[in-house]
Amino acid sequence: MKRHRLRFSGNSTIIMVGAIVVLYLGTIIGFGHIGQARLRQALLLQEQLVIDRQAAEVAHFVRQLQQEVENLAADQSVTSFLANRDLGMSMRYGLRASLNAVQRRFRSFAQSLRQETGVAVSQLGFHDADGKMLLNLDPGDAASDLSLRDLPTAPSTTPMLLRDQVHPKLAFTSPVTIKDSVRASVTMVVEAKTLLRPLLDSSSTLSSPQRIAVTDKDGNVVAAEHGPVWAHWYSAAQRHGQPIKEARIGETGLRIVSLSQATLNNGVITSSWFLAALAGVSLPLVWGIIHLLRLNNHNLVLKTRYQSTTQQRVMLRQQNERLQREIDKRLASEEKLAHQASYDQLTGLPNRNLATDRLAQAVKWAKREDGKVLVMFLDLDRFKQVNDSLGHSAGDELLRQASKRLQRAIRDSDTVSRLGGDEFLVICVDAPNKNQWEHCAQQLLNALSKPFVIGGHEFYIGASIGVAVYPHGGDEPIKLLKNADIAMYAAKERGRNRYCLYDPGMDVATVQRLQLENNLRHALERNEMHIAYQPIVELVSGRTIAVEALLRWDNPQFGNVSPDRFIPIAEETGLIHEIGEWVLYNACAQIAEIQDNSRLRLAINLSTKQFSRPAHLLDAVLRALRHSGLMPFQLELEVTESLLIDDDPEVVRLLGQLDRIGVRLSVDDFGTGYSALNYLQRFPFDVLKIDRSFTAQIPDNDANATLIRAIIAMAHALELEVVAEGIERREQAGFLLVQHCEYGQGYLYSKPLSLDELEIHLGTDAALSA
């Protein structure tokens, strides 16, 4: 949030300050006057409150003393004495003990009263109901000038004032009651000045001294703080019209009289002199403000200019700094983008774009200068094993280490770049003779022949290098690259870890096969493979009851590669295990995801080669089922007759295991192979698939029709279901129906479908069935 500041000129500030000061002083003087009047009233009120409180305290004190006497009258020693006396006991024999107990109690009471409250008891005793004095205790610590005999014995709840004494006294009396009968009375006499004690205690906490006295209802002084001079103070207060406050002390008939001591001039703040001084102070203040105004006017213009210049300079500096930061940031960003566009992020080497550009520049130079350009296409031989066994991070580390070695192996003027994956391109300008480029290629091989240590493991990888030299190996950059690539495959073909110079006579077919193989190795990781599904229908109803998974490979270089072309390569290189497992895993997962309640079956072709690792295959099947949730009877594994020829016991065992876990087994392309019929009995097959080559010619070809009839009859005899492949016409379907063939597949029903298409197809199929 931006802060706004009100800016005032020096003049206006001073005027404002001056006005505020004058207003402030005027307000103080005015309110001071009002405040003094209110303070006077408040003080008087406070004094009245104080004296009321003091009267309440004295009344409470009197009640306490009265209560003490009542407690004494109810004491057990007193009642015991009276009881023993009633029993007729004599003082000589027993009663004196009781009276002594009373005496000890009274003496103890007088002592504790003196210690706890400071009250000196003048007389303490008790009379019986007939007025006979039973005990008269003179504690001996107070002036005693009266006898209890003179006191009335009638009990009273308030003390009696004895005024006819030199020292006024108060007599507290309490009856002794036994069985609702007044049998005696206890009397305590104390000096009246005792009542001043709580007043003295409380007045000691007040800020202003007080002149107080206790009087009777006629105004006669009973006790005064300063007895001898009280009369003088009182008459002086009356003469000066000073406030005199009074308050009753409970029901005693006594009063407290207080002469006010506080005046308003006692405090500096509240005195009238203070107000006068304030008025005087305001005059020099006003003069000072006017003087300040004059001085300020002289400097105002100069000060304004200076502030403006300073502000502009600060703003300019801030803008320059911001601009510089923006430029730096943009330069850094552009540099980063340029680097990312031309260099490989992993190795820091020039990428394919930059390499192509430099190659083009080199070719231009060679054409112009009639020079030579050496292009070396380098592929790491066993990179894939490292990647697969230790993971991608290890593969990345291997690439980084290899890149550094390659950089160290070439001249500064040469270029080594990473084209992608484990492929590198080395461009050497001005490599005139064979010895030089051979030396250069050997240097690269040497650099990579030493072991790599990654994650504590040691690896030997090696490389295959294809060499093409401008102009013989190609006169354009693209051609040079392509020929170097061909030469690289030739090097691999010749046994790897070697270099090979491009020769126009190289076997293009072999090279292409090698290229295909190389691409196949990366097909899965590059997501170039996918699965298509061809429905298998029940011929009677036309309802889809299963799908056959068909592997498809779309390669950027070779386009849509037919399985007939890449499956043999996969089988030959061993990639078939990985690819077959991928198909099992993904096909099961995809079908499980889209299947409805119909429990759609999934047929997957297995290569004969996959059975070379029976345990691995069984494990792959189980994992695919477990992961997808597909039921075993929904999975149908298709094998060709060639698998069964050798009668391999491992294969027999595996097929038995698959059958036992509920997986259906199918004989694919029946009739095209060895067709030793006895194996159909020996192995646990559920389905027999008639090859499309037979289906294609029915019903016109009698031989084929006869053969199909025989196959179907034989399959039914063996309790096998029959699926006819390659049905494209209605006549074929009609013939097969007549022959009681249960199922069929082919373009008549549906071409192979992508997963999405299959889902739509199944939806339509279900709707029609309904």
Binding site: Q76, T79, S80, A83, N84, L87, G88, M89, S90, M91, R92, Y93, G94, L95, R96, A97, S98, N100, A101, R104
Partner: protein, 295 residues
Amino acid sequence: MFSWFMRQVALSLTVFVLASAGIAGTGDLDQIRRDGVLRHLGIPYANFVTGAGDGLDVELVRGFAESLGVRYEFVETNWSQAFGDLTGRHARRTGRKAERFGNTPVRGDLIANGMTVLDWRAEVVDFSEPTFPSGVWLIAQAESPLSPINPTGLISSDIIETKARLPGVSVLALTNTCLDPGLYNLEATSAEIRLLPKERKLNEMIPALLNNDGETTLLDVPDALIALQRWPGRIKVIGPISDDQQMAVAFRPSSPELRTAFNKYLAGTRANGDYARLVEKYYPSVFDYFPGFFD
């Protein structure tokens, strides 16, 4: 013959002297100092021996043991065993005289529990200087028709007036103590004297009275003072039964040095005011009844 006779006489005298010396030494001061312990025989009674580990006589004897530099040990006894426990032979009153009978082991060195000095007791033990004043009063329940006497100023006259109220009145008493009716010739008053069992203690007299075991009871003055405070309005003092009495500490006759040491100790505590403070603690009103005794 003569020489044989003389030898027998000399031998007998030697044995007698040695035996006398042994008896005299048993429990006397030297022996107590050697043993390092002073055994205080006491019967829980009034505020002399409260039974709670304190009391006027307990503190007095404990102070005496400290002055001797020996350990204090309290040995509880009762009225029928007390003299046997002190002297080794039981004793009781027969008429006005004491009767000794039966041996018993000596268990203590002195008896101190407000024991009243009586003539028959003085035949059995040696008493110390008086430690406390006493007397015996006749006490009745508050509801009793018996009225207290009007004191005449002469205690002998007051005793006669008190006894004049006794014919046909049941009186509780305890033999072998200061409340023994035989000491005061109560049989002659035609009162119905009811003796409490011997195992009873003096401080059980008032509870027995309040339990209507008798219409009146004898009670010593210190106990009566406590009873008047404890049961105010429930009992009344009718009048005196005995002359003024005194209490003292009893010693074996064979412990003269111990007795002398005690008297010396008692005189010291009375002189420095310690004894008066002790009495004030346990019997505060006794000073008014017996003015001059503690001066």
